[in-house]
Amino acid sequence: MKRVLIIGATSAITTETARCFARDGAALHIVARDQEKLNRLKSDLEIRGAVRVSIDIFDALLPDSHAEVIHQAIEKLGELDGVLIGHGTLPDQSSCQNEWKSCEDAVTVNLISPIALLTDLANYFERKRSGNITVISSVAGDRGRQSNYVYGAAKGGLSIFLQGLRNRLAPCGVSVTTIKPGFVDTPMTADLPKGPLFASAEQVGARIHKAMVRGESVVYTPWFWRFIMGAIVVVPERIFKKLKL
């Protein structure tokens, strides 16, 4: 993959994926909220081997501005071979329950914004008739739980959107990849006792790179989450609703 667009590029996981592409010698267009972080990542990726790195700022809370983000990316890279959409926010469930505004922001960043980006990207790749679109969803979207169902609903909606898009683009040789990470050991979880279920951002980021290059469909990372979620999904609702999850 020679020309790759990465949106939400400065997060721990997407940074690692960008580094894999840099090592491959790809040209990268990286987009995120913070200019300083983007500059820092640009130098890093250039030293690691990226042939060219361009940057752009965007605000996930303003989906109307997203068409311009895609336009800029195509202009900078000439052509796109792959796209990774990796921005997102983990909202506080209790504040989502207490005020609609928190819910709205969470759904905008995690669902509306990716859909806004994907609308133009899908049409672009459909015309191009090759390439890969990868989006980071979450295992939390596989079943609603009381502890984070607003986040879960947004990610679940995103997963279904991607499922449909994959179905639409498959005939023209464009792969759509849904990434579902489990627990990732980032500074956010530094104080939690780490069980064997935790993966590193490096591990997950490298797995995403592999999935993009191969054009896989749905990727649980680490792999065992496919079985954990498979088990969780089949618990009957009359039992599930009484569980503290």
């Binding site: 721990a12 940074t15 090592r23 300083e36 972080k37 820092r40 990542l41 130098s43 890093d44 030293i47 690691r48 081997g49 050991d185 500074p187 530094a190 104080d191 006792p193 780490k194 069980g195 064997p196 935790f198």
Partner: protein
């Protein structure tokens, strides 16, 4: 068997510590500090063996997010990167482009910040000195809010105090080093079997000017006339070659091994087999850089083979004068105690002086030993070794230590009082409190 995946422990897994973790997101971010009187200590990859990377009852600053390269100059080899970048990352990127670390320790899983803070050394100490000798400048953030650039000419006192300063002078946020140009990632290696310590000293003396890199493995179970026998390994980077890097197989020890596994019989067997697997006196071979420099990195979490109680490393240096006698006495002690060291490594240090006030390497012979933690008898043995080291005018390495006395520490580092002036009041470690009383 217990599977612990706590990242914030030391490599020897002794002592155990409980600490909270703060993170820093960028070199320009404000230094995270706890509200009260608690102290902080930077934490990298936790390859210090004892308690110099622990801050029991206090806070650690996780430097993992300081993972970005900042700049590289193809002409001079000057590389600037954030302090959490590991040597493994540097090698992965720069080996294919014909560059190597100016000084490399026996593991590549350490960070740049840790390499400076421990002023690490490697197989080329006799030629190149310590890591600190190749640091051109670094960024240091202090608890008073200052963000300083330190080099031999700018803030020279803090430069000297921070190199080998055990993370106590502030948080190193970025480091600039000069990489070394290499013609290939292979080395022409030269292995010589030696019968005893005197022969090691002679070989080392003869070959130091011929080889950039050298180290020796010692069988510290053999006694009598073959006491101190072992294998001397030396090498130089080779000219361009058509050889291809070998496929690397990486194993991982998933859990703590049961404590009976590494009993003295197993260690005896290992030492005998290791010594005898090289049949001829001298072997020359072309070797890829990874197995030559990092033989143990192929087994991830190898520290778990020592079981849940952990182990001690004991690394000493003694001056050349009287050094051989002291080492013989040490080998005799260990042999008599029946507490074999699984791995014993011997190397000569050269005369290149480090800028670091608290730097460990100094002209002489260094010996590193591993002892499984078997409680009081292990401590007693190391205390006896302390006495021998002290009498020979030697020193112990803080990065490997979990038990030396404050007196032993003071004797090891004559510039200690000069160093102490630069310790940041909000920085401390379990090691520092142990060797300096309650600071």
């Amino acid at each position: 068997m217990k599977c612990s995946v706590n990242r914030f422990e030391s490599w020897g897994r002794y002592p155990k510590a409980t600490q909270s973790v703060l993170s820093i997101h960028s070199p320009r971010a404000r230094l995270p500090l706890p509200n009260e009187s608690e102290t902080v200590l930077p934490f990298g990859l936790g390859r210090s063996y004892g308690d110099s990377c622990l801050n029991d009852g206090n806070f650690l600053i996780d430097t993992r997010e300081l993972s970005h390269f900042i700049s590289f100059d193809e002409e001079s080899g000057l590389l600037r990167a954030e302090a959490g970048v590991s040597l493994a990352e540097i090698l992965r990127i720069f080996i294919p482009r014909g560059w190597f670390l100016p000084v490399s320790p026996g593991t590549k899983f350490v960070t740049l910040g840790g390499a400076v803070a421990n002023d690490i050394h490697g197989k080329n100490h006799h030629r190149a000195g310590t890591f600190g000798n190749h640091v051109t400048q670094f960024g240091l953030v202090r608890s008073n809010g200052e963000s300083l650039t330190c080099s031999p000419s700018t803030n020279p006192e803090l430069f000297q105090a921070t190199i080998g300063g055990l993370g106590l002078t502030g948080l190193i946020v970025w480091v600039e080093i000069r990489l070394t140009k290499i013609a290939s990632p292979f080395l022409n290696t030269h292995l010589i079997k030696f019968e005893n310590l005197d022969e090691f000293m002679a070989i080392s003396h003869e070959t130091d000017s011929l080889f950039d890199y050298s180290v020796a493995w010692v069988d510290c179970i053999a006694d009598g006339s073959s006491m101190g026998r072992g294998i001397f390994m030396a090498g130089n980077f080779a000219p361009p070659t058509s050889s291809r890097p070998p496929r690397t197989l990486s194993l991982s020890i998933p859990c703590s091994a049961p404590s009976w596994l590494l009993n003295s019989l197993a260690m005896k067997a290992f030492n005998i087999v290791y010594y005898n697997h090289q049949r001829s006196k001298v072997v020359d071979a072309l070797q890829y850089y990874e197995p030559f420099f990092y033989p143990l990195d192929a087994i991830l979490h190898w520290n778990r083979i020592y079981g849940a109680r952990g182990f001690f490393q004991y690394q000493l240096v003694v001056p050349f004068q009287d050094g051989a006698a002291a080492l013989k006495e040490i080998f005799a002690r260990i042999s008599r105690s029946g507490r074999a060291s699984f791995l014993a490594v011997l190397k000569t240090f050269g005369g290149v002086e480090s800028p670091g006030l608290l730097s460990f390497p100094r002209r002489g012979v260094t010996l590193a030993l591993d002892f499984p933690n078997q409680g009081a008898p292990t401590h007693a043995l190391m205390q006896e070794l302390d006495r021998i080291v002290s009498e020979a005018g030697g020193a112990l390495y803080p990065a490997k230590d979990a038990r030396m006395s404050p007196e032993m520490f003071e004797r090891s580092f004559p510039r200690l009082s000069e160093f102490e002036r630069w310790v940041d009041p909000r920085f401390s470690s379990s090691f520092w409190r142990r060797v300096r009383g309650s600071v």
